[in-house]
């Protein structure tokens, strides 16, 4: 399935300034896998060392958060748009 992955501004430096990447993938996980294979520098920003999507990385298929679908196994169809949407967090942390 031909899907488009939208790249948020902070990660475009790792995709040759491209704001979207077209790829062929049957699931959202496969689309992200193809993306990080093509642009390996992206991996550490999207995945933990254990290979899980970082908690502050949100992935949407069209307008739906994949956490409420079938997560990375969510199936794609031609023309779907996968968006990487950052959560922003921080603070002093421990007191």
């Amino acid at each position: 399935m031909a899907v488009k992955v939208l790249i948020p501004t902070p990660l475009r430096q790792f995709t040759g300034r491209q704001s979207s990447i077209e790829c062929s993938a049957a699931t959202v996980g496969e689309a992200l896998g193809n993306l990080t294979t093509s642009f390996s520098e992206l991996r550490k920003h999207l995945y933990t060392d254990e290979g899980k999507i970082r908690s502050f990385v949100n992935v949407y298929l069209n307008d739906e958060d994949i956490r409420f679908l079938d997560k990375e196994n969510t199936r794609t169809k031609d023309g779907d748009v996968v968006s990487i949407v950052p959560s922003i967090a921080g603070g002093i942390g421990k007191r």
């Binding site: 475009r12 920003h45 949100n58 949407y60 922003i88 967090a89 921080g90 603070g91 002093i92 007191r95």
Partner: protein, 146 residues
């Protein structure tokens, strides 16, 4: 270099004081040009960390997308984020680093017993290992004083 007009810097400080003892947060919208980044507008947000607002802040994907839309409507870019450190120095914490993204400017204002003090800006290194300080320079001061 982050060009931050004096009135917007005051707005960030004011937000930090208003939300004290909680952490405040918001987005910075502007232009990323050849000579530096210029903040043109702020988009204050609600700290969504209801469970721990004194030492953490969180901006949800919905708030992120609202900030992105606000930037697009003004023909601006989302340049980065600001937040406050109540009773704590304006230096990024390990918690800040773990949750940061490259490219964005992260402005921190320390708020000491309700009074805003130092204001700093930071950029995450691409390998995520540490932040580097970013010079904050006021713009528009001359015209405001004229």
């Amino acid at each position: 270099m982050l060009l931050l007009p004096a009135n917007l810097e005051q707005e960030i400080r004011g937000h930090g004081a208003k939300d004290y003892p909680h952490e405040c947060c918001g987005a910075m919208l502007g232009v990323d040009g050849e000579t530096g980044r210029e903040v043109r507008a702020l988009f204050p947000l609600i700290n969504r960390r209801d469970d721990s607002p004194r030492n953490r802040f969180s901006i949800t994907p919905d708030d992120f997308r609202a900030a992105e839309r606000a930037a697009a409507e003004r023909g601006l870019e989302l340049l980065g984020w600001y937040h406050s450190h109540p009773d704590h120095p304006a230096r990024p914490s390990e918690f800040d680093r773990e949750h940061a993204w490259p490219w964005y400017s992260y402005v921190i204002v320390s708020v000491d017993a309700g009074t805003p003090r130092d204001l700093t800006s930071w950029l995450l290194e691409d390998d995520r290992t540490k932040f580097q300080p970013e010079v904050v320079s006021p713009v528009g001061v001359t015209s405001q004083n004229a």
